[in-house]
């Protein structure tokens, strides 16, 4: 039963890492799109 905790910990850790990375991609996309719009306005 104790080993099951390690199994779920590993699976959860995997998806937390992927989730954090995907979140960072979405955040960077948003920032760059805003920046591009601002540069476009300045022209």
């Amino acid at each position: 039963m104790n080993a099951i905790k390690f199994l779920f910990a590993a699976y959860i850790a995997t998806w937390v890492i992927h989730g954090v990375y995907l979140g960072s991609l979405v955040r960077r996309f948003g920032r760059l799109r805003r920046e591009l719009k601002e540069v476009g306005k300045g022209k």
């Binding site: 390690f6 992927h18 591009l36």
Partner: protein
């Protein structure tokens, strides 16, 4: 093209859910380790995916380095072709086969060697010019994410099986950590260096960094380690039902990695577009400043 990404994302989500179901429900329980061995279905596919991404990064970096000079590019093509042909033929010779470590299949080595020219020409054809550098940074970053998962799930698996989180001095574990550190330093270099030579320096670092990948993989044969033998192309053995689930899980993670790389690739292109726009803006600003300052600089007639 815009519709393709959501469709592939949906299919990948289904495949990942199916792989999870197979890993947790369908795959048989291991006689020695019990249920905790199921970590293999995330740990090993993540490692294979990271290796593949670092391999693509290596090929893209070489292509980028040699693309600056036509004669070097032509020579590199012949060298890569030679490595593929000579390497594959050599693996068929009995004299060479005796040199391979016990359990390592010559066909697996030959296939791996043949992948070098195949990937080299495919990547060069699909990603011309500066896109090679975009591909290199993309695969390095996504590779680091998968390598992080290997380094996190490994100790979680080791604790109940070996009784320790980390085996200090173990070559497999240490070389994987070094691999991760090399690619993190590659990303740090790219993030914080503004030099015109950054892309070339990063490509050179990636070529040397990739040399650690064979060390990680072959360390099991050449050094004493607590890590078990590889399940494919090596001396390890696995129940066919477990192997089936492992391969499906890897396929699911490969599809997922492809989509993540696609997004990261687009992000890098957008980043470069923004940088170009800023450069144009500052050039235009300088142009205006030059025009307005011109009369002031003129000498009075």
């Amino acid at each position: 093209m815009k519709r393709l990404f959501p469709i592939l994302s949906g299919l990948t989500a289904i495949l990942l859910a199916y792989a999870l179901y197979l890993a947790l429900v369908v795959a048989p329980t291991d006689a020695q380790q019990g249920e905790v061995y199921r970590i293999i279905y995330y740990h090993v596919p993540s490692a294979w995916t990271a290796f593949l991404l670092f391999f693509i990064n290596f090929i893209a970096s070489i292509q980028y380095l040699v693309s600056k000079k036509a004669s070097t590019q032509a020579a590199a093509k012949w060298v890569v072709l030679g490595i593929g042909v000579v390497g594959a033929v050599a693996c068929l010779l009995p004299q060479v086969q005796t040199l391979l470590p016990a359990g390592m299949r010559p066909s697996a080595v030959a296939t791996t060697v043949l992948l070098i020219p195949l990937f080299y020409f495919l990547i060069g054809w699909l990603f011309p010019g500066d896109r090679l550098d975009v591909l290199a940074v993309t695969t390095a970053e996504v590779g680091v994410v998968f390598c992080t998962i290997v380094l996190v799930t490994g100790p979680i698996w080791a604790r109940p099986v070996w009784g320790i989180w980390w085996a200090p001095g173990d070559i497999r574990l240490t070389s994987t950590l070094v691999l991760w550190l090399i690619y993190v330093s590659y990303l740090v270099l790219r993030r914080f260096s503004n030099s015109a030579q950054t892309q070339m320096l990063a490509a050179a670092l990636a070529v040397f960094g990739a040399l650690d990948v064979p060390l990680v993989y072959f360390s099991i044969w050449f050094f004493r380690t607590q890590h078990p033998q590889p399940v494919i192309g090596g001396g390890g053995s696995m129940d066919p039902r477990m192997l089936h689930v492992l391969l499906i899980s890897w396929m699911a993670f490969l599809c997922f990695a492809f989509l993540v790389c696609w997004s990261r690739f687009r992000l890098e292109l957008l980043h470069r577009e923004v940088e170009d726009a800023h450069a144009l803006e500052s050039l235009a600003g300088e142009g205006v400043a030059a025009k307005t300052s011109l009369p002031l600089n003129r000498s009075p007639r």
